[in-house]
Subunit: 334 residues, 2 copies
């Protein structure tokens, strides 16, 4: 591997001059600069980022820890984050924890050893005890996304989940539905709780009573959603509409509806929270509340870069981005 010294030798200058040239210092004579650049070109020299990081005490590498890389939501987030970061000359290390606290722990430790300069994390835990512990293990330069964790004092960017829950429900109410089922997410997780709260709120405002039998948590998994929906739909007084808490549960619900021989939306309306580009071939086309995925990713990286550059300690901020109702064909008026 060719080092700065080789370039210096070839250009007959000192390594300091090479360094100055590479870093665009203005105090290098034009002629010298040219000699150095020729040498760099001839030797195919690329500065050693590791050495530079050691010297500088910082790396410019950003860690992005997601809890489920196979979910289009996080895939899209990482795409947005990476694009912005690359434009700012930073590398992003994407790590996947598969919602596994132990893996999250290993990943964070490795990231720490590698001295990443900043972190964007979609946490896998949920309660305040976890929040306190996590807070001790991650740098100040961290932005938390998606799931809000109590006692975790960091910037936060996510969906306004309560609004999301409210919006789908209000839409269904407007269509005349009164018995609305809710296939929920994971118990104890903020996104799930908020989406449900929005659902309950909308019912309450419309003076429609909430039937606990019609609210089942499915841990954000499609198989559980399938079973939950099947259970609801085989009851004597089945719901006329179902809200599914995320993209995976929505698929489970759609499956259950068709497996039981119901027509959607003629027999049951289905509305999802969280859209997915992979739903394009679903029939009927899915009505759902979409997250502003790009915006979440971009806001997170913007805040992070801000924290990484202005060492000034800004106090933690939180941003809940508004969802968008995308009306397609899976909901009908009663």
């Amino acid at each position: 591997m060719v080092s700065i010294r080789d370039v210096a030798n070839r250009a007959s200058v000192s390594i300091a001059t090479v360094s100055a040239t590479v870093n665009g210092s203005s105090s290098v004579r034009q002629e010298t600069r040219q000699r150095v650049e020729e040498a760099i070109e001839a030797l195919g020299y690329r500065p050693n980022g590791v050495a530079r990081s050691l010297r500088l005490g910082r790396t410019g590498v950003i860690g992005l820890v997601v809890s489920e890389i196979t979910n289009p939501f996080f895939a899209e987030i990482s795409r947005a984050v990476e694009e912005t970061a690359l434009n700012a000359g930073k590398v992003v290390v994407v790590c996947n924890t598969d919602e596994n606290l132990e893996r999250e722990s290993v990943v964070l430790d490795t990231l720490r050893v590698q001295r990443v300069a900043g972190l964007i994390i979609a946490p896998s835990g949920q309660d305040s005890e976890y929040g306190t512990a996590l807070g001790r293990r991650i740098p100040t330069q961290t932005v938390v996304i998606d799931r809000h964790i109590p006692h975790l004092d960091r910037d936060f960017v996510g969906l306004d989940n309560r609004s999301a829950g409210r919006m789908v429900t209000e839409y269904l109410l407007r269509l005349g539905h009164r018995r609305i089922g809710f296939i929920g997410g994971r118990e104890g997780v903020s996104t799930a709780a908020d989406r449900f709260a929005g659902f309950a709120e909308a019912l309450h405002v419309a003076r429609v009573s909430l039937d606990p039998e019609l609210c089942i948590d499915a841990n954000y998994r499609s198989e559980l959603a399938y079973r939950a929906a099947a259970e609801m739909l085989t009851r004597t007084s089945r719901p006329s509409a179902i809200v599914a808490a995320n993209n995976l549960t929505t698929l489970g619900v759609m499956q259950a509806v068709s497996a039981l021989g119901f027509a959607c939306p003629a027999d049951v309306s289905v509305a999802g929270i969280d859209d997915s580009p992979w739903n394009i071939a679903l029939r009927p086309r899915l009505t759902s509340v979409a997250q502003p995925v790009q915006e979440i990713g971009r806001q997170a990286i913007d805040w992070l870069i801000e924290r990484m550059t202005n060492s000034a300690d800004i106090s933690p901020r939180a941003m809940q981005l508004a969802p968008t109702l995308v009306v397609r064909e899976s909901c009908a008026a009663v």
Copy 2:
């Protein structure tokens, strides 16, 4: 940041002893080791990976360059790669190029500056000129996946695309189909060419003539596939079955079929190459040839780690993994 020196001071030993302890050298007395470990614990010391990398001349960081992170295929690949790597104590930097050669270039350069120890890349280019150029820019410790590039002398792991094309087609032929449409991938790309070759081969063996009007490339995009399928299906002598070249094109085809009011599989059978977990709610359930995604990812990382450890220069190997036909409900006998 607490350094090795702080630990040494606190434990009243030299930094060499701390290093030996951390790296599990057996020549540290039990009692000393314990003192050091206590100091590490008390100070919350984590070795500086950057310094270690500089000293060692290698980083242990693996770069994974994918061309489309939002495609479940690559998301799943990165999941498999990362899991294995993490177990081997290595970090994976996932970078996405969005099939953009310029971005690929930037990414590779950054990875080079960061001195990644090894690379797994799903290339965005295709021809031999690109292959030669790419070969000069990536380390010997590289495994190429998915798309085979001429003149690129590196380990390669991918699907046996020809078999995949043959398998779906044979299946359709067995069901009695004779007019079979093919919605292809991107012109010039090995996977697309091979899948088509398999298709043509199967027809040839069955003595069914290949109608060029029934073979349209859709660049692996769903919108183009939609249009191509729509065009085919509105012709006077429409195909009784359609093969779609990947997960995205398959969705486009399914959309077109239903948009034109055809029933699948009653009117037209549809079979895909490359499955996706996001298809679970598709009706009819999709018959397709699945890639052994996990195996591809694992084989790639295994070969890579082998190259990274045995500096011995093994000559480039290639592995084409067998696809699996998953019969569901989107194909019917004529």
